[in-house]
Amino acid sequence: MARFPVGERRDISIVLCGAAGQGVQTVEQLLVKLVKGAGYHVFANREYMSRVRGGNNSTEIRVSSQPVRALVDRIDVLIPMSGGIRDNIRARLDDETVIVGDREALGEEFAELPGTFLHIPLASLAREAGGRVFANVIAAGVMAGLFEAPEEIMERYFRKRFGHKSRETVDRNMQAARMGIERGKELASEGTLAFALQPDPSVEERVVFDGAHAVSLGAVSGGCDFCCGYPMSPATGVLTFMAQNAHTFGVAMEQVEDEIAAINMALGASFAGARPVVTTSGGGVSLMCEGISLSGVAELPVVVHLAQRPGPATGMATRTEQGDLELAVYGGHGEFPRLVYAPGSLEEAVRLTHRALNMADRYQTPVFVLTDQYFINSYYDLDVPECGSWEVERHIVEAGPSYRRYEMAEDGVSPRSVPGYGEGIVGVDSHEHDEEGHVWEDFELRTRMNAKRLKKMEGIRSETVPPTLVGPKDYTRLVLCWGSTLHIVEEALRQLQLPDTALLHLSQVYPLPAETEGYLQQAEHVVAVEGNATGQLCNLLRQETGFLVEDRVLTWKGLQFSVEEVQAGLREHLA
């Protein structure tokens, strides 16, 4: 009756939705493991309301025989775990959608939805399995059956999750899962619902993690040995990773009273020679601005992970936006050097966070890693990052008896020592200071010192991360994006098949890589895609290069672009 993927498509888009606290996330984790274990590429991303119970959250899982890394609107299979489907999901259903669920438990609202309803008596099966809680597992089992995923993956998952509780819990979950698997197999053999994808054996070697883990792994691979923060969505995942793996990686970690303490502790630790990372969202960075400015004048390395969500102020706590580029570029008072990275892929998030720690150390200044809620909660399969061979650069020198922390240096980078390393005295100051770090009000000194610090921008500019060009080198039309939209725009363009059109993605947004201007100039027509209302990258480009990008595809509704939305936007400007 229903067979996916449809037509030329190479992926199946499955959306799970349910109330918060209903375990949608468990099913999501389980499903991702299952489909990857069955040999398929997978992408998952969730959108959720800012509430602990109730509401309606959803997770999109795309399964494909080829790597897949972007969010689409299309829903092939919807699995509602409860009623109360919100409009943002309803609008995405069409006649091809199959809704898999328990008609009795879900009630009437499904009668008028488009698509085909496939009834599975999840509630009664769950009762049979031992209780309502098993409905999730049974639903996941149905999918596992449809994908012919090996059972032991499920068992391994349950053992990992519940093994510490009891063998019995694992067994009971497995029993429930098998009920689902059975149903799934039946559906497939009857031809009621069938998934026909070609597995890719290379998937087995690959790993799956999300943006929060990518940033965290990049941090520890870059030698991060200190982390503190105050919980704030969507940046908390990094804090949690550090807490849970502090012993594995030897990280001094603390959840502190506020973001002001977080940045100041990080700077204290940096002064002692640690490699600190703080993680927060825009609201937290607002509070940290004074400390970031301190990092600039005191020349203390620190990496700030800024996971964006919509603002101003508290904005939309669990939603996404690319609205804080200007905060990262301009936040903090006074003039001082800095860098802002905005990774477009998980691989890049690992590599650039690692690099952020090195660059902070080398230039003794704050470095931002700019992500967002969409990116932090997206996961997909990728090759194991070869971080074992990446260097952790250390730029700490021993302090001789006449050591001066802010010794004038040709390139602006004074040799940095730390208290206790050598006999010299090490002092840092938030005021304008002399070479020893003491407060000294002298206009000439001020001029020299500020120039010394800003001089570091030259070095920083000489090693920017070049933008990525996707598509024909001899393009005449260029689509520009930055940060987390990379793969969405990439897929949109692939499907649009516009002639002479290429994509330029910036993963370093400040300072802008020198190559950017050349790329822009080659194009006769440039369109920018940004997840904000004012075109912050365009504005920065205008300021830094004078180049004006007038055509902009923007979104600021609180959800990341879907491939279809980008397509529609680009079609308007380029077709």
Binding site: E205, V207, V208, F209, L217, V220, S221, G223, D225, F226, C228, A246, H247, T248, F249, G250, V251, A252, M253, V256, E257, D258, I260, A261, N264, M265, L267, G268, A269, F271, A272, G273, A274, R275, P276, E290, G291, A298, V384, P385, E386, C387, G388, S389, E391, V392, V418, P419, G420, Y421, G424, I425, G427, V428, D429, S430, H431, G437, H438, V439
Partner: protein, 287 residues
């Protein structure tokens, strides 16, 4: 005992007013360091902003002169990354109890091994005489022309009630005793608050040297600082204020419990990263 000259800087322009209590606190601090045989390169002085917080610019030691109110956070971060070097966080009552109030509360809860010297002159010195969190009721200043109406912070009662592991009060007019108290605080393992009465000759005409002299007394020999109830009683005395160690208790030191430190306590900068570890972790965790 080391020579006090060791702590002197070659060139220094001390920006305190003649007669300010800050001078005696600095002298007491130098003596306390000398008597403990600590070289200038053996200790870190962390401070914020204010007259008191300028102290690290007037003597020799490692220093972190950061932002207004944040020095105990800087000091805590430093200890988290280097749990071997003694650290003093120094500042005024505005710095520590006003702008830094939240950090003050939470540092007490954490109990890092930091000695916190608060020059308590009950006024904002650097910004020229506004009311501070410890200014007495009725105290008239340019920003409180009709007198302070907010109840003053009682730092001793606050610290004792939060379970600070060492709480003492000193008076800058008595250098010898202030030095002894600073020494005891530094030798204490954990957070140690020393609230030091310090006359501001320029902006506080109420709480003068004489006033402090008349309104303080030393705790008797028999006083038991391990008794929390007794400490709270002392903390609430209104007429005359007790000087000495008012309270102490034993609590685990915050930084010693962090993941990098077990048996071995060594500054993090000495650690050598193992790049292969992360890759192995990824292979084991996410496949």
């Amino acid at each position: 005992m080391r020579d006090l000259k060791e702590y002197e800087l070659d060139v220094v322009d001390v920006a305190w007013c003649p007669g300010c209590g800050d001078f005696q606190i600095m002298e007491a601090l130098k003596k306390a360091l000398a008597e403990q045989d600590l070289k200038p390169s053996d200790v870190l002085l962390a401070s914020g902003i204010g007259q008191a917080a300028k102290l690290p610019h007037f003597m020799k030691a490692h220093f972190f002169n950061g932002l207004h109110g944040r020095s105990i956070s800087n000091a805590t971060g430093f200890r988290m990354a280097n749990p071997t070097m003694p650290v003093l966080a120094i500042g005024g009552d505005g710095d520590m109890y006003g702008e830094g109030g939240n950090h003050f509360l939470h540092t007490i809860r954490r109990n890092p091994n930091i000695t916190n010297l608060v020059h308590n002159n009950m006024v904002y010195g650097l910004t020229k005489g506004q009311a501070s969190p410890t200014s007495p009721l009725g105290f008239q200043t340019p920003t409180t022309p009709e007198g302070v109406v907010n109840a003053p912070v009682n730092p001793i009662a606050l610290a004792v009630s939060l379970g600070a592991s060492f709480v003492a009060r000193a008076f800058s007019g008595d250098v010898e005793q202030t030095k002894e108290t600073i020494k005891a605080a530094m030798q204490h393992e954990g957070y140690a608050l020393v609230d030091i009465f310090q006359p501001c000759v320029s902006f506080n005409k109420v709480n003068t040297f004489k006033w402090f002299k008349d309104h303080t007394y030393y705790l008797e020999e028999s006083y038991d600082p391990w008794d929390r109830t007794a400490a709270l009683e002392k903390a609430f005395e209104q007429e005359r204020f007790a000087l000495g160690i008012l309270y102490r208790c034993e609590r685990p030191v915050f930084e010693y419990q962090l993941a990098p430190y077990g048996e071995r306590r060594e500054a993090l900068y000495k650690g050598r990263p193992d790049p292969g570890k992360v890759q192995r972790f990824i292979e084991e965790t996410y496949v």
